[in-house]
């Protein structure tokens, strides 16, 4: 299954400049595609557009075409799209519905909205909890979890929808190293399970670990793209406001000092 963006642009209502221009992007089954770029380069807008939330819930005008398995989704309402494409936000607490007393009900919230048969809802919910290894949180109150746990519960809630595509906007921004590790493992597990994931992140160490391909945005345009390893190794990253992953920085520092980077490998 493929999500395709063709020459997509976006201008928010009331803005005099478009926030996104001429984006061509393909998201295929089982692939993790990383999105990097300086602050305000258009990462969040790309996530909102790719998930269909812009313009459906955010005021603005979209250009270009978005295709799901070749079908134009222009006229689809959000609830139709949300069964296929799910989106996660930076802030774990705003993603919880705030109306559920247990993690189980929180994760079941999406499938319940779709009116699926009771047993199907229950099975999907357990499955999602299990995939993220948080079965033991099922009976806990979601409001009383740590930020990292809340972020995982939010992801499980998306997963229970069984979307073919998942869009994540800086899912680890608020998390400590332990929480970041949990989310990274979850992304890898989901992709291994066949979902395609678009993940915007400042933490390039995380992208280096999970992404297969990458795009780098600047002023709303794609300025670099290709296999993740190549993009993360590109010398232009610095001027684009993106930190290179630790390993790349270290190797560059060695080269700059006239030391053979091979020596870093012992």
């Amino acid at each position: 299954m493929t999500l395709t963006l063709q020459a997509v642009g976006y201008r928010y209502a009331g803005a005099d400049q478009p926030s996104l221009l001429e984006i061509d992007l393909e998201l295929r089954d089982g692939e993790v595609v990383g999105v990097a770029g300086a602050s305000e380069a258009g990462k969040t807008t790309l996530c909102l557009v790719a998930s269909g939330l812009a313009p459906r819930t955010v005021g603005g005008r979209i250009r270009g075409t978005i295709l799901l398995d070749g079908e134009n989704v222009d006229a689809w309402p959000m609830h139709r799209l949300s069964g296929r494409i799910a989106m996660g936000f930076q802030n774990p607490s705003t993603q919880l519905s705030q109306v559920t007393g247990t993690v189980f009900e929180e994760v079941a919230f999406g499938p319940m909205n779709f009116g699926l048969p009771h047993d199907d809802v229950v099975a999907r919910t357990w499955q999602a909890l299990h995939t993220l290894r948080i079965d033991d949180l099922a009976e806990r109150n979601p409001q009383r979890l740590s930020g990292g746990q809340q972020q995982l519960v939010a992801m499980a809630g998306l997963l229970a929808l069984r979307p073919s595509h998942l869009v994540l906007d800086e899912p680890t921004a608020q998390l400590d190293p332990a929480g970041t590790r949990l989310v990274a493992d979850a992304i890898a597990a989901l992709a291994a399970d066949g979902a395609s994931i678009l993940v915007a992140e400042q933490k390039t160490d995380l992208l280096a670990e999970v992404a297969i391909r990458m795009v780098v945005l600047a002023e709303g345009r794609v300025v670099l793209q290709g296999p993740a390893a190549d993009v993360l190794d590109d010398a232009r990253l610095i001027e684009l406001g993106v930190s290179a992953p630790s390993a790349v920085r270290l190797r560059r520092a060695a080269e700059a000092a006239g030391i053979d980077p091979e020596r870093l490998r012992d």
Binding site: G37, A38, S39, E40, Q90, S146, G147, G148, E170, A173, Q174, L175, D176, P177, A178, G179, T180, R181, Q202, L237, I238, G241, V242, S243, S246, A247, R249, L250, A253, A254, A257, I259, R263, L264, D266
Partner: protein
């Protein structure tokens, strides 16, 4: 320039039974650059909120240059210890960048040229010069965070405390924060930062304090805090050493917490 001291600090939140701080003893000298690291919930934020009187100890005491913090008013404390919170949206209220940055120094009684230069310096340091008339909500999240930093920087307090200053910042933003820390330290101010970013910690600070469950479990310079002998302690609270530290250890070069120190060691070896 002032010295901060915590003695037998214990804090129990009214809503919880656990000790958020479980006996913290600490002395931070004037002009030190200190990083506080540890898992969420380990007590870092609780600790720094005692330094400017926002929280009062359940037991023990905090001394600001020898004076018990309990004897100082909020205003007196604010003029000594500037604290930048993690979430800028929980403080920004003014209609313009200038008014937002003026708020703190005005509260401390600054006015005229003194106020103008404090504001101008803070905006320059955070890369917001030229945005004086901008509405803070027209700035993106990461620049709003720099604005919150500027608004405390302009108070010119002898102690500057930063709670997670680099989250959501891109490479340039992190460099700006590093610049602010170094400039403040250069003026003899004390800088204390809570951070999850180990590379930022290793490169920017001269002392690393690791907290776990309300206690300090390690207090050492980066070279020692990220040395192989400390990894077990770090990992006990789910922290990882920097890549440079790992590579340095693998190559038998001793403790090399930063890229620069690793390169240095490679050269020497």
């Amino acid at each position: 320039m002032i010295e901060l001291r915590a003695e037998g600090l214990i804090h129990v939140y009214r809503t919880g039974a656990v000790r958020a701080l479980d006996g913290v003893d600490l002395v931070i000298g004037a002009g030190e650059r200190v990083a506080l690291i540890g898992q969420n919930g380990s007590g870092k934020t609780t600790l720094v909120r005692h330094l400017n009187g926002l929280l009062r100890p359940t037991e023990g005491r905090v001394l600001i240059d020898g004076t018990d913090a309990r004897e100082l008013t909020v205003g007196q404390l604010a003029s000594r210890v500037g604290l930048v919170f993690q979430d800028p949206d929980r403080q920004i209220f003014a209609g313009s960048v200038r008014a937002e940055v003026e708020f703190g120094p005005r509260n401390l009684g600054r006015s005229g040229n003194d106020l103008r230069s404090a504001v101008a310096d803070a905006l320059t340091a955070t890369g917001l010069a030229g945005e004086e008339a901008t509405n803070p909500y027209d700035l993106g999240q990461s620049r709003r965070k720099l604005l919150a930093l500027a608004s405390v920087l302009a108070m010119r307090t002898p102690v500057l405390v930063l709670d997670e200053p680099t989250t959501g910042q891109d490479a340039r933003g992190i460099e700006r924060v590093q610049g602010v820390v170094e400039a403040a330290a250069g003026e003899g101010r004390t800088v204390i930062a809570i951070s999850h970013d180990m590379r930022f910690v290793a490169e920017t600070f001269e002392r690393v304090i690791v907290m776990r469950a309300g206690r300090i479990i390690l207090d050492a310079p980066p070279a020692e805090a990220f040395a192989a002998s400390s990894w077990e302690t770090l990992r006990s609270t789910y922290l990882e050493p920097t890549l440079a530290a790992e590579v340095g250890d693998r190559l038998g070069l001793g403790s090399t917490p930063t890229d620069a120190s690793l390169i240095e060691a490679l050269r020497a070896g």
